[in-house]
């Protein structure tokens, strides 16, 4: 299905209205706490109109321009992940019956059909990895599946890349390829709407749209092309699994001990990371427990606590786990790399450690000096830091 229509800018609100009248809760991007986050959306005026993001290792800033565009930014700290794989939830409870036996019950879950506007190509690619992880086989994750199945996705093709983006290197963007119902390509005068599913078409037929002209389609394509060309970062040629596994003893890993905080931010913002930890909470009277899961990270010691010992005791071992799994052994597990090139782990690492630079340094033969490292990553005037004044 490839129907392209044009929606003038002043009718964008009708898309939100139609989604609502079709029964969806509508969620979209907006500015909060100095970043672009996703939350309930009622009107187009809540969208980040004229806002762009400036990103660098350890650094994220929003800037205001005169532009009329709503989607002229690349990524925020999170997108779909907190809505599908939620960060903390109760899965089941147990009650002690009067005879002392235990009764188990699933935690009831209510989801509403939800339309999310503004999802990027990288996030869709990550979603399909999560779908595979959480919904494969005979025992799909019920919570993830229920939330996932309630989603209607309106993608946005990127017309601008942040300095941290490298989705062209992973092959996941900047154009959304699959996994969405509708996509938008934003021009100053409005949006080219592309329909991808039946239910997407059901929404579009109720909008006052016209045929997109070939000139408009060309300009949209040129915009997406430009976003691809803007990208500054790249990856060593893959597949990387064998190369990374061969580099487990590389001396470069040790340098991470001077830089990596083992804070886990990179894994928490990564849209494909899925690690979780489970625990039980008990009521005061000891008669009820709740089984809670929450996001976990391979940077936490507990993550490798097995049979009485922590396996990865050193920080560089944890960084190595993250990088070799994400970019290497993921290939065997999922048939592709675990990275979709969103650049979040680079921007949201508090000390600006850059996976693309680490990979480049690691895939140099041991013995060859890697480029001199500044503490915490790059210090080229573009990266983050606490004393960087605008």
């Amino acid at each position: 299905m490839n129907i392209q229509r044009f929606l003038p800018r002043d009718r964008l609100q009708t898309l939100i209205d139609q989604l609502m009248s079709a029964g969806y809760d509508v969620i979209g991007p907006q500015v909060r706490d100095h970043a672009i986050i996703f939350d309930h959306l009622a009107g187009v005026d809540q969208l980040p109109i004229g806002i762009t993001d400036e990103q660098a290792p350890g650094r994220y800033r929003l800037e205001k321009s005169d532009s009329v565009r709503c989607f002229d930014w690349a990524t925020g700290p999170q997108a779909l992940k907190p809505m599908t794989f939620v960060s903390r939830e109760t899965l089941w409870r147990s009650d002690r019956r009067p005879d002392g036996s235990l009764a188990f019950r699933e935690e009831p879950m209510v989801t509403r059909p939800t339309a999310i506007i503004g999802i990027r190509a990288c996030d869709l690619a990550a979603l399909s990895i999560h779908d595979r992880h959480f919904m494969h086989g005979a025992h799909p994750d019920p919570q993830y599946s229920q939330r996932r199945q309630s989603l209607f996705l309106v993608a946005v093709n990127c017309m601008r890349s942040a300095a941290t983006c490298f989705c062209t290197a992973t092959g996941d963007g900047p154009r959304a390829r699959s996994g969405y119902d509708l996509s938008l390509s934003e021009l100053d005068e409005g949006f080219i709407l592309e329909v991808h599913t039946e239910r997407g078409r059901d929404v579009v037929v109720r909008l006052d749209v016209t045929e997109a002209t070939s000139a408009q389609i060309e300009r949209a394509n040129a915009g997406i092309e430009q976003a691809a060309k803007q990208q500054q970062r790249t990856l060593p040629a893959g597949p990387l699994q064998d190369k990374l596994v061969a580099a487990v003893e590389h001396p470069h890993w040790k340098t991470l001990d001077d830089r990596c905080l083992s804070c886990g931010n990179c894994t928490a913002v990564c849209p494909t990371c899925f690690c979780q930890t489970h625990g039980d909470e008990i009521s005061l009277d000891g008669r009820q427990t709740s089984h809670v899961r929450q996001w976990e990270s391979c940077f936490n010691p507990d993550h490798s606590y097995i049979h009485g010992i922590v396996i990865r005791t050193e920080r560089p071992q944890r960084y190595r786990q993250w990088l070799t799994h994400k970019f290497g052994t993921w290939e065997e597990q999922f048939g592709r790399s675990g990275c979709v090139g969103c650049g979040r782990c680079i921007a949201w690492c508090p000390v600006g450690i850059d996976v693309t630079e680490e990979l480049a340094a690691l895939l140099i033969e041991p013995g060859i000096e890697p480029p001199a490292e500044q503490p915490g990553g790059k210090s080229d005037g573009q990266s983050g830091g606490v004393a960087h004044h605008e």
């Binding site: 706490d33 100095h34 350890g58 650094r59 994220y60 800033r61 700290p77 999170q78 907190p82 960060s87 089941w92 002690r96 019956r97 005879d99 002392g100 036996s101 235990l102 009764a103 188990f104 019950r105 001990d257 001077d258 830089r259 990596c260 905080l261 083992s262 804070c263 886990g264 931010n265 928490a268 913002v269 909470e281 008990i282 009521s283 005061l284 009277d285 000891g286 929450q294 996001w295 976990e296 990270s297 936490n300 010691p301 507990d302 920080r315 944890r318 949201w348 508090p350 000390v351 500044q374 503490p375 915490g376 210090s379 983050g384 830091g385 606490v386 004393a387 960087h388 004044h389 605008e390």
Partner: protein, 290 residues
């Protein structure tokens, strides 16, 4: 899903007894306990609270199952009282930065506090003050330490529930950052350049400072995997003067490694203008970009 398994362990029949003791402190941790509200009432129905000065009951020598201890060891009488508490209690649990690490008042350990006292009090001989403020564990065996200035009442309650049911409480010692992310809080360091100590600070507070657009000032002490040297090097490399880096480390938990050594390291780099008042100002002039 509706399975049954046989009832494993019989529950103890006696009503558990609890005491909350206070040493040198501001009472903030006791207040955090009191602020629990409803769960505290439920707790009071499950256990006998025999000693809790801030809330009413006073019986300092009560024999209890769980003794919570707030405050640091700072006067000549504290050691003897602590030893009695240890003898009278099955579990001793410290609550808060003072009891666990000496607290903000331990800043005096790094200075000649006698000089300060002489400068403030007309008759300092009336003060009963040890030269150092020290953690409870420096005097008696402590079963569990809960950090924070103040503690998180929910965390204290969680620990209490676990002990009541007879299993070891699970305390998360990882960094504040994960909690920020779980709560969808936008990182104040990356988005605003604030010098956040969260990456090296133990979780447990619920990331309340970043949630309020503030940088964490490490009141929960060091996270288990804290890379203090990397974070402080980064602060310095991106423009924070050594003196302020030292202040970030020598603040509420100045007597705790790896904060102490790293703090002294940065203090020693401040050669030109000797630091006469370290750690008092948690807010660096560099942090906020408003």
């Amino acid at each position: 899903m509706n399975n049954s398994i046989p009832h494993a362990a019989p529950r103890s029949t006696h009503r558990p007894r609890v005491a909350v003791h206070k040493f040198s402190s501001c009472d903030g941790c006791q207040l955090a306990f009191l602020n629990l509200g409803e769960p505290l009432l439920a707790l009071a129905e499950t256990v006998d609270i025999l000693h809790f000065a801030e809330a009413g009951p006073i019986d300092e020598d009560a024999v209890v199952d769980i003794a919570f201890v707030e405050g640091s060891v700072a006067t000549s009488k504290d050691a003897a009282r602590l030893k009695r508490i240890r003898e009278n209690s099955r579990y001793v649990i410290t609550i808060g930065a003072c009891a666990t690490a000496g607290g903000i008042q331990a800043l005096r350990n790094m200075h000649d506090s006698g000089e300060w006292i002489a400068g403030i009090y007309a008759q300092p001989e009336y003060l009963d003050l040890l030269p150092e403020s020290r953690p409870i564990a420096s005097i008696i065996k402590v079963d569990l330490e809960l950090w924070g200035c103040p503690v998180n009442g929910e965390q204290v309650l969680g620990v209490t529930k676990a002990l009541l049911i007879g299993h070891l409480p699970r305390v998360d010692h990882s960094a504040v950052c994960m909690e920020c992310k779980r709560q969808n809080v936008v990182c104040v360091m990356v988005s605003q350049g604030k010098p956040c100590m969260g990456p090296v600070t133990q979780t447990g507070c619920g990331a309340i400072c970043p949630k309020m657009q503030r940088d964490c000032y490490a009141c929960y002490g060091p996270a288990v995997q804290a890379n203090v040297s990397a974070l402080s090097t980064y602060f310095a490399a991106t423009g924070m003067p050594a003196r302020e880096v030292a202040q970030r480390l020598l603040f509420i938990n100045s007597q705790t490694e790896p904060f102490t050594s790293a703090g002294i390291h940065w203090q020693n780099k401040t050669s030109a203008a000797p630091n006469t008042n370290p750690g008092i100002n948690p807010k660096t002039s560099l942090g906020a970009e408003q």
